[in-house]
């Protein structure tokens, strides 16, 4: 704890005069002349008692800060402090504040922290604390040179310019953006609806449409039925015969294809691999049949996707469909 009243000598005479409450307030209110300010500052730097007083006043100011305009005048605060009766409670309150300030004050007296210095240079420190920082700086060469280093850094950061992207950047971004918007607009609306709804969507909706579908389906159905009837009305042809006939035909096709490939591009390794696959398939007609089914399914779905994209999404509720095409 600092012994405030036991003020040591060794200072110039005028520096022994402690600051009055009025002077401290004037200092905090920024009402001292430059000369007076410099004197007061010099005194405060070396006088622990006045430093502590100043801190106490700053605390008071800070507490009254929000009320400054409408609150009691600083005079009021002065009277409060001057006329505090020497009661136990009041004294202990005052002492508590003082000891608290003394601890913090000593910290502040030590050196200004990097955080404080940066905020000071950026102008983020409240005006009242600026005086305290400047008081410290005026008496501390270490902190002064530190401030200079920080200022150098801030100046360096201030020289940083924003940089232009290369020529054509704007055009590239806009082009990609337009393409993506186009794709988004064309993206099948079907992707957002359930499979059931999709099937439903493909069903003819009017009687006329049903008639058209039926009309289109009639010729192949009729021809197919006639052929089936012809085939199975022949007593010599059972389904088992037909199956073996078909598998034999597929195998033959495979072999023919294989030998054609062999004749053509047998030298190439890729062709040889294709040949190996075909050769294998022709040896197992069921796999070939399964392959054909998969191929047909893929073709059908490809055709459907084409259909859905080309004819369906145009008149859907897709929000971008009207806007951007």
């Amino acid at each position: 704890m600092l012994d405030n009243d036991d003020f040591s000598t060794g200072f110039p005479a005028e520096m022994n005069r402690h600051l009055t409450a009025q002077q401290i307030q004037a200092l905090l209110d920024g009402q001292l002349s430059d000369g007076e300010f410099a004197d007061a500052q010099e005194h405060v730097v070396f006088c622990a008692r006045c430093h502590a007083d100043l801190e106490a006043w700053q605390l008071l100011y800070a507490e009254l800060g929000g009320l400054a305009e409408i609150g009691p005048s600083s005079d009021f605060a002065a009277r409060v402090l001057e006329h505090l009766p020497p009661q136990e409670e009041a004294v202990s309150w005052r002492q508590r504040v003082r000891s608290w300030i003394a601890v913090r004050g000593r910290g502040a007296m030590e050196h200004l922290s990097p955080v404080r210095l940066q905020d000071y240079i950026e102008g983020l420190v409240p005006a009242r604390q600026v005086a305290r920082i400047e008081a410290h700086l005026s008496g501390c060469t270490a902190c002064r040179s530190d401030v200079a280093a920080w200022q150098g850094l801030f100046e360096g950061l201030g020289t940083l310019q924003s940089m232009e992207p290369a020529e054509g950047f704007y055009e590239r971004v806009m082009a990609q953006h337009r393409v993506l918007q186009l794709i988004e607009a064309w993206e099948p609306a079907a992707a957002r609806i359930s499979a059931f709804a999709r099937v439903k969507r493909l069903m003819p909706r009017t009687r006329r449409a049903w008639a058209a579908v039926a009309g289109l389906a009639m010729p192949p159905l009729t021809i197919g039925s006639v052929l089936l009837f012809e085939v199975f009305s022949n007593p010599a042809l059972t389904p088992a015969y037909l199956a073996s006939f078909l598998s034999w035909k597929v195998a033959e096709l495979g072999t023919a294809l294989g030998s054609a490939l062999m004749d053509g591009v047998v030298e190439s390794a890729a062709a040889f691999q294709v040949y190996a696959v075909v050769d294998f398939l022709s040896g197992s007609p069921l796999i070939a049949l399964a392959g054909a089914v998969v191929f047909a399914a893929l073709s059908a779905s490809a055709a459907w996707i084409l259909y859905a994209n080309l004819f369906h999404s145009r008149r859907t509720e897709h929000p971008y469909a009207q806007a951007s095409i």
């Binding site: 850094l153 940089m163 971004v173 993506l180 806007a323």
Partner: protein
């Protein structure tokens, strides 16, 4: 309509209606600051252009999700910064990393105590970049970790106030202040080191 006269928010709302000219004006306004940020983050011009382009494409594609209660600049910087940080994190996996302090109790502490050794050597392309970002201060910024770098660049190149930086980086104000203080301390140390 003269798009150059409109505010960012008006442009964003027009862009939401798929007006190409509104996208164009927004791009014109932000291409330079966004590119600069990304460039200084990754220190590679062509990569920065790719990332900036991707950021714009993302932002434009999601223009409907822009909330006009916030600043458009914060929104677009947030997208660009997140995209760049994501990239840097992924790339970090490719660099040799010495693990953080064994005493670290949280992932964050570990992160802070970790030293990342980037593969040395300088390719001809990097040499060109270093000519562009070659000043001591740029070099020092390049040494900062990405979060600090973002904060410093937003504050000192773009001149954003602390609260907007907090919005862009999706961090509490206090954290942004801490980042800036620590980042500048690191810069100061680094520059003092270089000056010797």
């Amino acid at each position: 309509m003269d798009y150059a006269e409109l505010s960012d928010k008006e442009l964003a709302s027009l862009a939401g209606q798929r007006r190409q000219a509104a996208f164009g004006e927004l791009l014109r306004r932000y291409q330079r600051p966004i590119f600069s940020l990304v460039f200084r983050m990754v220190r590679d011009r062509s990569l920065a252009e790719d990332l900036a382009q991707e950021a714009f494409i993302r932002a434009f594609g999601a223009i409907g999700s822009y909330d006009p209660r916030y600043k458009f600049s914060s929104w677009i910087f947030k997208i660009a910064n997140n995209h760049t940080i994501d990239h840097l994190r992924k790339r970090k996996l490719d660099t040799v990393s010495i693990h953080g302090s064994p005493h670290a109790r949280t992932a964050r502490e570990e992160e802070e105590t970790r030293i990342v050794v980037e593969s040395g050597g300088e390719s001809p392309q990097e040499y060109v970049e270093h000519k562009e970002l070659g000043s001591q201060i740029e070099h020092a910024i390049g040494k900062l970790r990405p979060e600090y770098r973002t904060a410093i660049l937003l504050r000192h190149v773009e001149g954003y106030p602390y609260d907007e930086i907090a919005e862009i980086m999706e961090l509490p104000l206090g954290t942004v202040k801490t980042y800036l203080h620590r980042a500048r301390s690191e810069l100061k140390e680094h520059l003092a080191h270089l000056a010797q």
